[in-house]
Each structure stands twice: as C-alpha cells, then as structure tokens.
Amino acid sequence: MVAVEPMAPVATAESPAPYIGRKVLRSEDPRFLTGRARYTDDVAEPVGLLHAAFLRSPHAHARIVSIDASRALGIDGVEAVYTQAEVSGVLGDFTTTLPMPEVKTITRPILNSTRAYWVGQPIAVVLGTSRYTAEDGVDALDVEWEILEPLMDAELLLTDPQEPMHDAFPDNNFAHIEYQMGDVDELFAKAAHTFSKRFHQGRYMAAPLEPRGVMADFDPSTGELTVWSSTQVPHFMRSLIAGPLGIPESTIRVIADNVGGGFGMKCHVFDEEAIVPAVSKLSGRPVKWIEDRYENLAASSHAKETVCYLEAAVDEAGTLLALRGRFIGIGGAWPSHPWTSLVDTVVAAQHMPMIYDLKAVGYTVDTPVTNRCPTGAYRGVGWTVVSSARETFVDEIARELDIDPVEFRLRNCIPDRPFTTVTGQTFDGGSYQGSLRKVREMLDYDAFRKRQAELREQGRYIGLGLCAYVEPTAWGSDIAVQQGFKNAAYFDAASVTMEPDGSVTVTTGMHCHGQAHETTLAQVAADTIGVTLESVRVIENDTARAVYGMGTWGSRSAVIGGGAIMRAGRDVKANLQRMAGRAMEVAPEDIEISQGVASVAGMPSRSMTVAEVAAFAYYGGDSRPDGHEPALTATRSYDPDPAYSNGTFAAIVEVDPQTGEVTIEKMVICEDCGVIINPMIVDGQIAGGVAQGIGGAMFEDLVYDGGGQFVSGSLMEYLYPSATEVPPMEISHIETASPVTEGGIKGMGEAGALGGVPVLNAVADALSPFGTIVIEKAPLRPCDVLELIERARAAGPAT
C-alpha cells in the first residue's frame, strides 16, 4: 500500500534573514590553521600522568590461561599492569540491546582478560611513565593462550548452527527481524518480470584521521572524574560510563574540545573510554591512552559489511511494483555499544524504497555474530549499503529491459511533494524527480552518450552512473522509529544567553568535529535574536560548559541544534522586546531587533543597542517591568518531526580494460536539504562524503583471513582515497523547505557517502559493451573489474 499524504505547508519566516543562506567563512578556522587547536593528545598533561598501552588479542578466538606480568613490571618506568581481576573492582559491565522484542541483550565485562573474541580485543592494560615504556611493558607480558576455532562465515552460521559464542545468543544471531507491507507475494506472482541479485557490501570504516584517545583524571579527594576523549558524544558518553564506574554524572566532566573527524565511529561509547577512567581510579594517577592506527583499524568499530539479497517485481511497462530483501549483517563478536550492528542492517532494510514508488516491500534482517571487530555506525548507516545494492540492481534491470537509467528512475520515482513510503517513512517533500532532471541537465546527458559512443569506437570505455537518494536526517524520536529503531527516543537542547554587555553565548548538547557549528549555529542564533554574527559565541564539546544533549551524528545538528537555538533564541528575544518596550515606553510588539539594535517599529530614530537593553534587563532596578526575571537566558529542547533530504549523484568514469583501473573523471551532484544555512559548509559536507563513498566503493576493505586474522592493519593495506583518486565535483542545490522543522532546515551531513554508488554504476555502464555486467560486490578493485569483463565475455553479448 502506498499512501500519498500531502501535508499543508506551514507559513514561514518573519523577515528575510541576513545570515542564514550566506557563505559565511568559518570563525573557528584560525586555531586549526595555526596549529593551536588542542585535540586530546595535545591537551596539557596533568601532573603525574601515566601513559596506557593495551595488550590486545592477536587471536580471533582464544581462552586466556594466564597472564604473567612479572617481566613487564621489572622494566624501569612500567608502573602497573591491570587485568579484569583488578579493573572489575571499579568498573561494572556494559549491557547492549535495543528496545525491540526481536533483539537479544548481552551483558559483558568491559575488560575481559579470560577470553578473546576478536583480533584487537583489549585484554590487559599497562601503565608506564611514557608511551614508549608502556608499550615495552605490553611486549614483555607473558600470556598463555588456548586457541579456539573462530566463527567467521556469517551466512553459514544461519543455516548451520554452531556452539554459541555467548550464552546471550544461543543461535549466534543478535537479532532476526521480519517485515512485510503490501501483498508482496501476489505482486511477484503476477509480475511480467522478476529479477534477483546478491550484493556483498564489503567491510569498511570511518577511520578518522585523529584516532581515538582518552585521558582520565580521577580525584579521590573529591570523587570528581575529568575525562578528555575524542568523542562525538561527550554528554552521552558521560551517561553511559557513569553507571559502570559508579560515579554520578554530576561529578564527571567529559571534554572533547577538538576532535579530528568522527563520521559516526566516535558516536559509540568504547570500552577504552570506561577502562582508562577505571585505571586512573585504580592507580590514583591521571592516565592517557592515544590509539595507534593499527588499533583504530583493528579494534575501534567496523561498518557496512552486509550481504544483501534483493528481488524485484516489474510490470510490462517497466514499473517497479515490489522489492524483497534479505539482509545479513556480518557482525562482530558483540554489538557495538550502544547502537549495535542493527544500525546498518535494519536501516538498510527500511530504506529499500527511497525514491521508488513501490506497492509492497518485504524483508528479513539477521545480524550473526562472528569473531571480528564489532560493527557500528559510519556516515549514512545502512541506507548507503542498501543504495549500493538497490541502485546497481536498478541499473541492471534497466539495462535488461533496455530502458535508459534516468528514464527508468523517473518512471518509478515518487512525486516532488510530501510522501509516505510503504515502509512508513514520512518524507516531508523534496525534489526527488527535480534533482534527477537537474543532474541530467548538468551532465549534458545526450552529449555524454554521443561522446561515449565515439570513444567506444576508439576502444575507450567511459561510463556514467547515477544514484538518486532520500536521506533520513536529524535523528529525533519519530525518524528513529522510521529507520527501524522502534521505541527509540532522541532529542537535543540549546541554551541561549544574552550577557549583560549584549554579547550572546549559545551552548548546545551537539558536538562539533569539523562541521563548523561555531559558525553555522551562530548564524542561526544571530538571525533569531537580531544581533550581529560577531556578537555570538557557540560553546559545545564540554559537559561542564554546555547543556546536556546527545551529540552530533545522523545529520542532526543543523535541524535539532538549529531548532533548539531558534526556540531558546525566540524566548530571549521576547524578553529583550519586553525590556526595550519598557525602556522606550512602547508595547513589546512594537520593538524590532536587527543587527544588535532594538528600535520602535516605524520610528528608527527611537532605538537602543541590545547592549543597552541587556544592561537595563540585568541592572535596571525598579524601572524594569514588574515580575521580570533579570537573566536574558533560555534553555529549550527539540525533538523534531522527520526531515528527509534528497538528491542525485552522478559519476563519469573511464575504465582501462587492460588493467582494470578506474579513473573518475568527475562527479555531478544536485542536493536538496531544504533551507541552507551556509552553502559553503553544505558543499564541504557533500564533497567529503563523496570521497569516503569512493573509498568504500573502490579502495577500502577491512579483510580477515579464514582463520580470523585481521590483515588490513595499516594504511598500506587500508587505502584512503587521496587527492589523485577523488575527482573534481560540480554541486548544485535545490531548496525545498521542510514544512515540519523549525526554519525549514533538513539535515545533510551524510548523503555524500553515497558518492561511490554512481561510480559502481558508471563502471558497469562503461563495461556494458563487453556483455551483461552485474555488480555483486564492493569495493570494486582493479582485479574485480577485470573479472567483470571476463565474466561478461564468457557469458556472451548482452541481449
């Protein structure tokens, strides 16, 4: 059943905003450009600091018979060795689950020194007077391992039961979920054409340039704990470590002032973020642990790896009727905390429709546990996975039916207005078709096809690929449910204060790790109150300085942070208007505030600066209105209705059929995130996401061998795209304001991560003269491209 539910557009904005919509340069840039930004490893070290290094499991699955620390403790500068025996005295367990009946619950020790479940699992921690000596100490630990058989084949685990890895998962499956809406079977039975494919999205990860890092300082005299961590979620991390540490949240301060990229990886709460504070408490010393690149690649969180089986029912006219999906997430040894491995699988399944007007969808989701690093969130959770599978499938169907891929998408695309998908997602209106048409125009599509034909005559193979998308943004409660996170609840908050001198302090529970909140959220606050941009200061990233909130992930900060600031800012503005009205002896409604000046409507000569109004509010004595609260401050929270962005990506590539090398000529993009706060920042988010998407589609692969050994432990195996692999990009915008959010803003931080999908399609398009091309996996390395050509040749020419 497909319901079209046009929503009445909400009446918008008072006056044209001077800052929102403008390319405002980032006010935070100078500290990064001059090397003054203090990331976790750069923070001034507390006196008496010890450095931590972890013993990590070199085995995929093993029992630890004994750990002898005597040699390690004999090294000058090695101060302590801690295992579960000591740590469990000050640190409880993590319990990971989701509030859904299909999902199991696991409770596990945060440091397990008796059994190893994956290569990289922390087993023991050594404290030394320098990182050099702490690592020497790890090298000198004598450990007796009893090697166990690892469970590595996730698909096989579902059909061939094995002894449970954990008692919590008797069938080695974290969750099995089934869903059906509409008469899937009947549509398939009656369809003129049915198609199927298997697509294996490889394992890749955010791998931010700044690895994780935690420094903890527990003061036994006050019971106060200060933790510096490279996290995207300082308050949320505080909430999740407080329980296991047995320390009230009010006495924990988490600081994450500058974070060198997160991309979702740092929105988890990691074992090390609890262990380092625990060993600070045990040792009575401040402790610092800075992750190295091997640890980051092997032992932080992996993402995306999913085997997707898709089936499509298509009618005589080339109309997509229904999709069936089976999603098997290749989970790690336990679900990442707290988001779990379902962030990829269940979200992938819910996003099968996106722009396609389907009558029915059915799916199953499984997330078996294997002896690998846990999987969790990475930019575009799940919906990037299903887009790789579905968009390559759509092109394959279009080629099979001999319909142009743009035409096929437009034929099956939902209308450019609010729309509810068969999976229950309430799209708030967008340019679903409009962005496709815009990209076709930007590409000069017909001219491209002509050039392609000419080059083929010369033995050169260029191709064009597309990916149209709808992006779930601004994770509040309702949109979380629409992503398959039933019973979830999310919100965020902002505090806005006009200080006595008229300057404005904004704090939010968001976290900035590159998204320019100090600039963009200041734009929002300045417009809301009517002050100059320069007068606004945004403070985040520190639980002692900013209001509680859930941090930044899931493209939520512009909408939820922006919306909470608008709400709080309007409260402050109303108070200012009351004060200015009193001072100038007019009604508050007659006060207009713009660029830091409050004036009487229609009489611009009667005015006060906001500094004068603020001084009056705080210190104006009896002349202030009766019952007035002096402080010009408000804290408001916001849990928005679902806001979905959309757009279309296209890639043009050339493939060398001799070597399998793919050169991406350019990316052409049209995105629609509703009202744009700062177009420069939007373009930057898109471009950065595209590079990561290209990584996952072409280069980045976290590989385990059959025995469970991790073999992608450095940047010489795990290949980041560099400036020579990422192409130039042309980005255009359509602004379909959201009728349901404050200010019409939609989130947009993640869609760029789809940038690899059109590349996969472009490779297939380039190679189509060789025969039938079916993309069955990503990343598509040069050897995979050569295999595609060989298989197409062997199967004979396309029909």
């Binding site: 840039d29 100078p30 090397g35 090294i75 700044e210 990229g261 471009a687 400036a723």
Partner: protein
C-alpha cells in the same frame, strides 16, 4: 625495541622555527615526539605513525618530511619549520592559511598543518601549478573530511594571490591567471 637493549642518549642539535635547540635523546625517539612533547609544538599531528598520511609533515630545510618516521637524531644540523611559525610575527595568518579559510580547505583540521606546509613547499617549487600538479603534490597528505575539493581550491587561490602579490611588488598591472 625494548629497554633491555642497551641504549645511550645521543646529543642532537637543530633549528626549530628559527631557534636553536639542543637535546639528549634516546636513539629511538621520533622527531614528532621531540617537537610535540619536548618543544611543546603540537601543531603537527600523529595519525598513522608509518609515513602514509602526511599529518606529521614538517619542513626540513624547506622540504616536507614525515616527522613520525624520522628519528630526532636524523635532523641534527637541519632547520625544521612547523605550522606554528609560518605566519611570521607580523601577521595572524600566512597567505596560504588565509586561502584555506577563504576556500574552505579544512573541516576537522587534523590534516591541516601538514596540508598547509606541503602546499607551502609546492608553491616554493612551482608558483603556478595546474590542478593536476596540485593533486599529485598533495597526494601524500590524506584528508578524511573535505574530499580535497576545498583544499585544491585553496592551493590554487594561494598560488594566485602569491603571484599577484609578487606582480604588484615589481610594479606591473594585473592579477596572475
């Protein structure tokens, strides 16, 4: 390497941002650790510790090197320049840094010091690089945030500004292409 291998402290002396420094170091001590921890200049970043990503780039006698795989003893007698000093005393930002702000050449900022120093070395060698030359020169510096679009634009902008400043000092009209 473990401490049961007998090591002796070695003297090392080099110029860091114009100031002579003299230390005794364990031979395994990395230049990056000396600059960050001994000299307190934390602008250079450690991200891969194997010379792949370029975050730890500093300039040795004007040439970009990887301080995370350079032993401190190797730079004895050299002149090392880090991000902290390139703007000079009279300005807040070096023109390349200004271009990075103008063209959105950074997001999280972690690769930025290495990127800016590498760009400085490029423009010293080649004041008028093509887009492809910029991409190739910067290909040893990884950025995980920007997709390089803003970085390439920043370096082009910096090249243009530097050329036009040079042109105006010799008294001719017009901006470089």
């Amino acid at each position: 390497m473990t401490t049961d291998e007998k090591t002796e402290a070695h003297p090392v002396e080099f110029e860091l941002n114009g100031r002579r420094i003299r230390l005794q170091v364990d031979p395994r001590t990395l230049l990056a650790d000396v600059v960050r921890h001994e000299a307190g200049l934390t602008g250079l970043k450690i991200a891969c510790e194997q010379g792949v990503c370029g975050s730890c780039t500093v300039l040795e006698d004007g040439r970009p090197i990887r301080s995370c795989i350079t032993l401190a003893v190797q730079v004895d007698g050299s002149s090392i320049e880090t991000i902290e000093s390139i703007a000079g005393h009279s300005a807040d930002l070096h023109p390349i840094q200004e271009s990075f702000q103008r063209e959105h050449g950074l997001q999280c900022g972690f690769c930025t010091p290495g990127m800016v120093l590498t760009a400085k070395a490029l423009l010293a060698e080649n004041p008028d690089p093509s887009e492809q030359e910029i991409r190739e020169y910067l290909s040893g510096n990884v950025c995980r945030c920007t997709g390089y679009v803003g970085i390439v634009a920043s370096v082009r902008d910096a090249a243009r500004c530097t050329r036009s400043a040079r042109t105006s000092t010799v008294g001719t009209e017009g901006e470089g292409v």
